[in-house]
């Protein structure tokens, strides 16, 4: 039983997973397109995904939302495929298709019977360079993304607060700008903005092909060479170097009141290191730390201390960390107070739990249990081959390699309690954090709500 809460904005929740190494094959085409083939022969189904190494954090200044807007516009047709026809063709094959945008990537996928893979590749390769946009389509689709923003963000105080919190977290790095764009900038995006972004970044040497399902890697390679092989790369593509964060010298705090808030909460995020290629140990320790502190609403350190017993202060607590990110990421927690507990009291209670944890250290039994669960997660994850495909896509566009993905389960298993405590002491520092109170009325801050 968890109350509805909006956690950090990530389009798609990624579990820590890895496929068996012997079922994953990779190759690279001459034009730079990298490919990953994940075999799963249980059902004659295939997921075909094309990921671009381009996301909201790669946008030009003042053009927030352009990566996401372009994602919508990619369905507006080419010389050979009419507007809307892409999805209609996938439908006619009994397939499903869609697309998604995050900070570090933009992805397109279709899920079809395996004998339709060739057609999917043909169409996806066609729109990598051949997009045609009319002014009318651009106008209407801009209205659609504004409606999307209104639905996802402007109607939801938790989502609005999340935007403000991220903006406070990142003073300089574009992770502080919403993926869907600030409303005033998204409203002003033009056809030329989209096309200029498209021409530079939608290229085989900036893309990763992922094919997962009942396929033979050699056949996939031959198909990819036929369809993606002839597509010209973008010459001299610049490396993805984003502005970095200056040292944080003062704690950041923000409050927001909105009458639509039903359940006030405290949320804090700390700037935290991400998984880096060949150096995933610290991120693994933080992954275990999040599980220990707030991974279970029954057994975690926060739940036991704050949700149980006569002195319980919280209705719900959770800690979160996702290490898959090209640049510096967040470690965070959220705590929903009981009705007669103020946000100030709630925050103080969480801080006391964290302080005690930093003194007491890791409970060995809980640590062992979490390790076993993480290992089992790998087994359960193999049941969802489309999920595995997403894991690889997010990792590879987030600066990791196939080797890193495959090493991750072992890196997690190798984490020691000492490493968890070192990571905890390094990251759980309020001077390095943003603390937010979301409430119904400003008075919630002091009194019980």
């Amino acid at each position: 039983m968890l109350p509805k809460l909006v956690l950090p904005l990530l389009l798609g929740v990624l579990t820590s997973t890895a496929a068996l190494a012997d079922k994953v094959t990779t190759f690279t085409l001459e034009n730079g397109l990298e490919a990953v083939v994940i075999e799963d022969h249980r059902a004659p189904v295939v997921t075909h995904m094309l990921w671009y190494r381009i996301g909201a954090a790669d946008e030009p200044l003042g053009k927030s939302g352009i990566a996401h807007f372009l994602e919508h516009l990619m369905f507006k047709g080419t010389k050979t495929v009419a507007p809307g026809e892409f999805s209609a063709v996938v439908d006619a094959q009994g397939g499903d298709d869609n697309a998604f945008t995050s900070y570090d990537y933009t992805g397109y996928f279709q899920r079809v019977a395996v004998d339709r893979l060739d057609l999917m590749m043909k169409m996806e390769a066609d729109r990598m360079r051949g997009l045609i946009l009319s002014d009318a389509h651009v106008e209407t689709e801009r209205a659609v993304i504004i409606e999307e923003r209104a639905q996802r963000t402007d109607s939801d105080p938790g989502a609005l607060f999340g935007e403000q919190r991220r903006a406070a977290q990142y003073l300089n790095h574009p992770y502080g700008i919403p993926i869907i764009g600030w409303k005033h900038e998204a409203e002003a995006l033009t056809r030329e903005d989209a096309l200029s972004f498209y021409r530079t970044f939608y290229a085989p040497n900036n893309a990763i092909l992922i094919v997962a399902g009942d396929v033979d890697p050699d056949e996939v390679k031959a198909m990819a060479e036929a369809h993606y092989g002839p597509v010209a790369p973008t010459p001299d593509l610049a490396p993805r170097l984003r502005p970095t964060e200056p040292p944080q010298l003062s704690e950041r705090r923000l409050t927001m009141a909105d009458p639509r808030v039903a359940q006030p909460y405290v949320i804090r995020t700390y700037l935290a290191p991400e998984r880096d290629s060949g150096a995933q140990q610290k991120a693994a320790a933080l992954t275990v730390l999040a599980e220990l502190l707030g991974g279970s609403s029954t057994t975690s350190v926060m739940a036991r201390a704050l949700q149980f017993g006569d002195a319980a202060t919280a209705v719900y607590t959770s800690a979160f960390y996702d290490g898959v990110s090209l640049d510096v990421t967040n470690f965070g927690f959220v705590a929903v107070p009981m009705p007669d507990v103020s946000l100030a009291e709630m925050e103080a209670a969480v801080d006391a739990v964290i302080a005690k944890f930093l003194t007491d250290g890791v409970d060995q039994e809980a640590f062992d249990r979490i390790k076993r669960q993480l290992r089992a997660d790998e087994i359960y994850a193999r049941d969802n081959v489309a999920g595995l495909a997403r894991t690889y896509g997010a990792a590879l566009t987030g600066g990791l390699t196939v080797v890193d993905v495959q090493a991750w389960p072992d890196v997690l298993q190798a984490v020691t309690p000492e490493e968890v405590m070192v990571a905890a002491r390094e990251v759980l520092n309020r001077k390095n954090a943003v603390t937010g109170w979301l409430m119904k009325e400003e008075t919630d801050a002091e009194a019980g709500q």
Binding site: A92, D154, V336, I379
Partner: protein
Amino acid sequence: MMMRLVFAALVAFALPAQAEIPIQAVKSPGGITAWLVEDHGIPFTALEIRVRGGTSLDPVDQRGVVNLMTALIEEGAGDLDAQGFANARDALAAQFRFEAGMDGIGISAQFLTENRDEAMDLLLLALTEPRFDPDAVERVRGQVLANIRSNMKDPDTIAARQFNRMAFGAHPYGSSGDGTEESVAGLSRADILAAFKGTLSRDRLYVAATGDITAQELGLLLDKLLGNLPAKGLPAPKRADWALNGGVTVVDFPSPQSLVYFGHQGIKRDDPDFFAAFILNEILGGGRFSARLMTEVRDKRGLTYGIGTYLAPQDYAEMVLGQFSSANGTTAEAIAIVKAEWARIASEGVTEAELAATKTYLTGSYPLRFDGNARIARILVGMQTEGLPIDYAQSRNALIEAVTSSDVARVAKRLLNPDALHFVVVGQPEGLQTNP
């Protein structure tokens, strides 16, 4: 007693290309039936159990008791308190989920082959000896109340609840299975215990398993796990009478956008015209971009991010429902388009081209659903609760293919009536008032 397993049927249906999914009907020595797909590729099993009834079995003055009870099943059992139970479950890396719906309680379990017996012993403990400790009751009650308060500020929930209240009144379908702040505050431990005994019973049980388990192993497991549940549960609710006429109900909510939830009466799952209605809905308001409403409201005019309609054949009432959001200034226009499309398809039916494309999509996409143990187990339980035969997966696409455009036109006239549509609008829409 000698172990004896009866294989009533072994059905395999072909997917496009090569593979087949063989569904076995398993009957345990104790007489519990289940559908099974064996797949030994990954060392775990997905087990799906559904018990018909759900929150509609709440006594009148105890709205929310089945929901609260279901949330408590895992919060301590036998000699384990809530934390002890969670520790034991997590140590086995087993995953259990308990969910209460309007028409049933769902229990989903995933467990590793290496410790299957221990994991099932733990689930057995939860299903037979839940403790409902007072401190656990209070803690989970607090979580349920937090959910209820959140939902009171959530436009989607506000709209659906307003709609259901007006459509079904005092019937359980007319109110949320979560209960209200008052009703949940008043639930006692005795109420919760009674709900447990009255809702988890063998007379309305549906079971499916997929994964690394044999028919024989499954049969033994089921007897142990479910054999001691009470034989009979609470009496089923009555049919829900429909009391909602066409019109508009505006619920004021401070937001730049209005959420619109709309619908009227629908069609039963076992109606001979169900498939014609299913295809009709897909053409009118399916979630795909080619559906008429998506084309008219989103693609041509940019009035919404998404719009969809669906058939809701529940156990005691049937509806056709739809939902979208639009800016307050354009909501009235979007509603007018929905009504116009409703009228157009009711009077003109669908084109042969639309019918053909929709059939290709529905028949082609059906086998794609069966990928993954957990998904297959859920589908198999769904088929059983709908009363479908074990060879349904084989015959289903033929039933789709058999529908003609005149079938769809006839059903469109019978089912869709723009004047009967009621729109609940949550927001501050311009130019719209509650009517009648």
